[in-house]
Symmetry: C2
Subunit: 195 residues, 2 copies
């Protein structure tokens, strides 16, 4: 199925293409659409559903939106839905990923509880009243310095005790099998099989 | 799996048990819990997710919530999320189903477009950050008088052109295969297979 992505994030597009290889993903840009949706939700679910519904309304096409981030209990759940904008002020461009990671590590200095979890809310909309949302999560522990070059975003800080490695150090196929986005995406693919 | 339902509606419990026979459904009452959640959402999705999250928070158990209703374009989408309360004033008890049906037919007098659709938003929550939401729909046409004794709610008014019958006139197994709730429930059952 041809699915329009409500994202301009090339990393997410690549991962989704790997997780759901039976589908073809387009971005708004591929259709010549300038989709600049302001994320006003207070939860991953709100944001994913809001983006997907907005783009479906504009295009009439099946739309997939992914809202994801890292939540750190010792920081009261931050960065959470602000993961991509962590450390930047309103109106300013987002920090680059290594700067955000450095900021997160700095904010964790002296914290005893270094547990963290990734969350991915994924919504597929076929029409105003047919949609599926899957929210999945994966638990880990924050490292004290980045390790690994795979994945993107906070992956080099996210240590998986079962693997003895960060998510950025395990193969993409393995990440896509166990990650928040991988779990959500493979469940979504199952739902699409019957359509 | 033992799943707690965020509803006191016996009809919904029965239908869900038929649609997902591999699972056991309990109500808050079965656990001695008085769950009286005020529905403040503006969409089926909001309401289903709100109810499910609230009851999961109280109990820690896997919770399923279903928010559903009938939408009539000629009435601007009414009764919509107010389907169960249609025609009753705040603070008053809800009308009985036959009274609501009579009111809907009365409000449709003289309308040319008698199309209608049922919507079911179903949310399953396993923990604060793992949940699945499926929203499904079925399209039909409003009759001018009730027909059939199966199902519940607005079913006797909901005519399916492909069957030449109302949903209340077709066997429960068939309703459960094609209805908004049946479609959402069978997709949900698919997602639960792997857990």
């Amino acid at each position: 199925m041809e699915i329009l992505l409500a994202t301009g994030n090339a990393h997410k597009k690549l991962e989704l293409s790997e997780i759901m290889p039976q589908h073809t993903f387009l971005t708004p840009k591929d259709l010549g659409i300038n989709f600049d949706h302001e994320e006003t939700g207070l939860t991953f679910l709100d944001n994913a559903q809001g983006k997907a519904l907005a783009l479906q309304k504009i295009t009439g096409k099946p739309v997939l939106a992914d809202d994801s981030g890292i939540c750190v209990p010792a920081l009261g759940g931050a960065p959470g839905i602000y993961s991509a904008r962590y450390g930047s002020n309103p109106g300013e461009p987002d920090l680059e990923s290594p700067q955000r990671n450095a900021l997160l590590l700095k904010n964790m200095e002296g914290k005893e509880d270094r547990s963290a979890f990734f969350v991915c809310a994924m919504t597929l909309v076929f029409g105003e009243f047919r949609h599926y949302t899957i929210q999945e999560t994966i638990e880990g522990v924050l490292t004290t310095e980045p390790a690994g070059v795979g994945g993107f975003g906070y992956d080099p800080l996210f240590f998986l005790p079962d693997y003895g490695k960060t998510i950025a150090e395990i193969p993409a196929e393995e990440k896509n099998r166990i990650s928040h986005r991988g779990r959500a995406g493979s469940k979504m693919a199952e739902l699409l099989k019957d359509l």
